[in-house]
Each structure stands twice: as structure tokens, then as C-alpha cells.
Symmetry: C3
Subunit: 200 residues, 3 copies
């Protein structure tokens, strides 16, 4: 339990760093960059909790906002050198979405959502922070137009539900399903796989 | 009751088709198109439920997400031929907003909102899915700049409250008010009526 | 209590005027302008209440929507002459954000949020209506790229928490903290102070 909590805080920290960095190419000030980091870090989980009609964890537990603040400060201080860490950040992000999807799915099931809604809400937990960030930045969300990202989350979430119905132990299931999300994400980027465009 | 439920599912299906089709002119992939269909179909009702502090129906009842999935698949498979059905889709959309407005208003009143808030939330139920879709697509929402759309919903919702206060039977009232929304919408498009622009 | 309620309604009215006016430079119709006024007026407080898992006041109390409607009508009728009142509106806006921040913070604490979350939610109450307006209008939110605005709100909110921990009387504290927000805002605009940009 404590381990999950620490992983959750680290995930929030990483998303906060990547969100703040994403803002650094734009004509915005340090507050805007910090705000963008915040939205990226808690947007997905907050939307899930709002749809579940529960209160997001960061409202009650100050540690989440502290983790975000630390992430923002790291990103603002190191932003020139962080460019060299882009590969490490990519790996962290892939781990983050894998973990957030499965934890989000489990939270949704625990709050009595239907299985198909839990799949959607698990994916939301992982990707909607980034979607909100891109929308605020006035861009078409990245996940709509490149790479396999949300689709990896959906695949792992569906696998979790299938394995759960087959009676697989929950912790084992979480580990397998999160790993599958991670692998799909890594492999699709490595081999430049993408979904077909519509229209065109 | 069963009839209302089936109409609701059909409304979600139709909005999912039109939302996915709206994405097909853009440089986005099939996931982005499906996501757009989803947002269009459930955005309005979900926002209403969030403001009412209740849980959206699709979180508990998997049939809504199945209806959306079917709509997305229909739109992706038939997207070239669906163009010819644009007139049919327009009629479905007009029926959809009429129905969603009145059902949304009734749900709001049942959740003890004030009458004026129920008017706003009824209109939200019908139009905010499209507004969210347009915002994600990085465009000024259509309803802000052309045709009589949300205004038709507002007119029917106000009429419903007036007739309810006059003691009209609720089912009769719902039928009359929804019909008025439908007629205002159809007539305004037929005769190219529009609201005055501000500024300019 | 009655005084606070009246100030709250006046704040909503002022934000509704400024939101509607912001829409008047664009190619949108009167409904779009009214909608923009509505979103600006209730967006921030509604988001706070949704995160607190409570119902926004305007859903139950029709006076808020009436205040917004009056603001929209004032803005639409007088929009040419209101330009001359831009200075008065700026002062009203500065008073509005000062008040909304502290009231939002107090409401969050009363709903048992953590102190750090109350700081964020207080700031949200004041600025997220404008952020939502700008996002719908398809622009990078103003607060991300100019002037000291949200930062003034954050400063006053942090001060409130510090003074509360020092045992300062709540009403005195609210008056001092709101005044600090107001002064930071006024002084920063007077002397063209701004936060450093990131990147570049």
C-alpha cells in the first residue's frame, strides 16, 4: 500500500516535470508553466474522480501538490539541461501512463463503475492531463494525431478486465497489464508504429 | 420508461456518429476520431450531472458506451457514403437536441435544481458535447457563430417551465416543448435565420 | 452574511459583464457572447465546487443566474459606451478576484480540504472562469502570458493561511489578505511588473 502511494506521488512528480517542460517552448510566463505542470499532473485523475462523483486525492492530501511543486521547480531550474534527459523522461512517462491506467481502472471498479466504464476511466486517468494541457495551450491534443499512446492504455485496461474475469490474482494482473501498456508504448515508438489517419 | 431509455441510447448513438464524422476532416487518427465521437455523445449530459453532483449514467450502465462504440464504428466504416446521408443526420441531430434538452431539464428538476438552472442545464445537456468537441479540435465552438441551435434549446426549455407552472401534464409538456425546439431548429435552417453578431 | 452574499452576486455580475465584453471583439453571435459571460462568471467557482464534490451555488440559487443575465444585458446594450468605463471595469475586476480568492479559500477549508489545496482552489475560484473563456475562444489564456494576476491571488491566499496559523481573527485576516491581492494587482499593472517568461 505504501509502495503504491509512493509510486503514485512519483508519477505525479514526473507528469508535473513533463507538463512544465512542454510549456517552455511557448510565449508564457513561469506561472503559466507551473500551471501547465499542475494540470498535466492531476488533470486525468481529477476528471476520473469527478465522473465517479468522488473527491480527487490532491484536495485532501497535500503531498500531491507538494510533489507537483517540486516537479515544477525541477523543470524550471534545469530546463536547459533537461533536454539531454529527454530519453529518461520518455521512459518515465511510459511507466507513468502504465501505472496510472491500471490504478485508475482499479479505483473505478472499487467505486462500482461498470467494467467498460472502468476501461475508459483508466485510460482517462493516464491521458486526460495531457489533453487538458494541450487544449489550454491551444493545440490539437497530441494523443489525437501521433503515435500509439491512449491506445496502449486502452489495450492494457481491456487485458486487465479479461484476466480479472479469468480469475487471475489482482496484483499479478496489475503487473502484467501495466507491463503490456509499457511494452506497446515502447515498441510502437521504437518502430514508429501509428494508427491510420481518418479522412485524408 | 423503457421507451425513453431506448430513445436516450439512440440519441447517444447519433451524437457519436456525428462527432466522429466531424473529426474526419482533420489530420487525426482513428483513436482521435473515436474519442471525439465519445466526447460529443456524453459531454453534455456528463457536465450536467457533474454540476448536479450526481454520477453520469454511462459510468454505471455499460450500454451507453456500447452505443457510442457502435456509432464510432458506423462512422469510421461508412464515412464516404455517410456524406450522402447528411440530411438524415441533420434531422437526427435536431431530434437529438430536442430530446436531450427536455430530458436534461427534467433530470435537473428531479435533482432539486432551481427552475432557471434547470433551463441552463437542459440546454447544456444538448449542446456542451459539441462545444467540448470543437474546443478539443481547437476551433471556436460552432454554436457561438452560426445558426440558431442553443437558442432553440433554451426557448423550448423556457416553454417547458412556463407550461409546467400553468399545470400542463408533464408528458404532454415534454412532447410540446421538444417539438418546439425541433421546429425552431428546422425552420431557422430552412430560412437561414441567425442571431445578430456582436461587435463588428 | 447578507453583505457577503450581496458582494458575491455583484462579483458574478461584474465578471459576467467583463466576460461578455471580451467576446465582443470576435465573430460570434449574441448567444455566444452571453454564454461567454456566463462561463466567465461561474467557471471558477463551479470548478472549485466540483473538485470539492459539492454542488455549485448557482444550481440551487437562481439569483446567481439572474445576476449573470443582468450583466450580459448591460454588456450587450452598452457595449460601445462601456469602452470608456474600461478603467472602472479594471478596478471592479481587481476587487472581484481579491474577494473570490479569499471566499473560495474559505469555502474549501470549510469543506475540509487541505490548506495547500485551499490555496490552489481559492486561486481557481478567481481565475478559472477567465481561463475557460479564453480556451473556448480558442486563445492561450491571458493569465499565462501577461501581467501579475493569478500570482496575486496565490500570494493573498498563502498570506491568509499564514495569518490563520498565527491566530489572526478570520474576518480581519480575510480583509487583509484580499487587500493584499488587490494591491499587488493594482501596483503590478501601474508599474508594468510581470513574471519572467520561460523558454525564449
Amino acid at each position: 500500500m505504501d509502495l503504491l502511494y509512493i509510486i503514485d506521488l512519483i508519477g505525479v512528480l514526473v507528469f508535473s516535470i513533463s507538463g512544465t517542460m512542454a510549456a517552455e517552448d511557448r510565449d508564457i510566463d513561469v506561472f503559466g508553466a507551473a500551471f501547465t505542470g499542475f494540470v498535466t499532473a492531476i488533470g486525468g485523475g481529477s476528471l476520473r474522480d469527478v465522473f465517479l462523483n468522488t473527491r480527487p486525492a490532491w484536495v485532501d492530501d497535500g503531498n500531491y501538490l507538494l510533489a507537483i511543486l517540486i516537479g515544477v521547480i525541477i523543470a524550471l531550474i534545469t530546463h536547459k539541461s533537461l533536454g539531454k534527459l529527454r530519453r529518461a523522461l520518455f521512459m518515465f512517462d511510459a511507466i507513468g501512463i502504465s501505472f496510472f491506467t491500471i490504478v485508475g481502472l482499479q479505483k473505478s471498479l472499487a467505486a462500482d463503475s461498470s467494467a467498460i466504464a472502468a476501461i475508459v476511466l483508466g485510460m482517462f486517468s493516464a491521458v486526460m492531463g495531457g489533453v487538458t494541457r494541450d487544449t489550454l495551450m491551444n493545440e490539437t491534443p497530441l494523443i489525437f494525431r501521433r503515435e500509439i499512446y491512449a491506445t496502449a492504455c486502452l489495450s492494457g485496461a481491456i487485458l486487465f478486465i479479461v484476466l480479472a474475469n479469468l480469475g487471475v490474482n489482482e496484483n499479478t494482473n496489475a503487473f502484467i497489464s501495466a507491463s503490456v501498456i509499457f511494452l506497446i508504448r515502447i515498441i510502437s515508438v521504437r518502430y514508429k508504429l501509428s494508427l491510420p489517419l481518418v479522412g485524408g
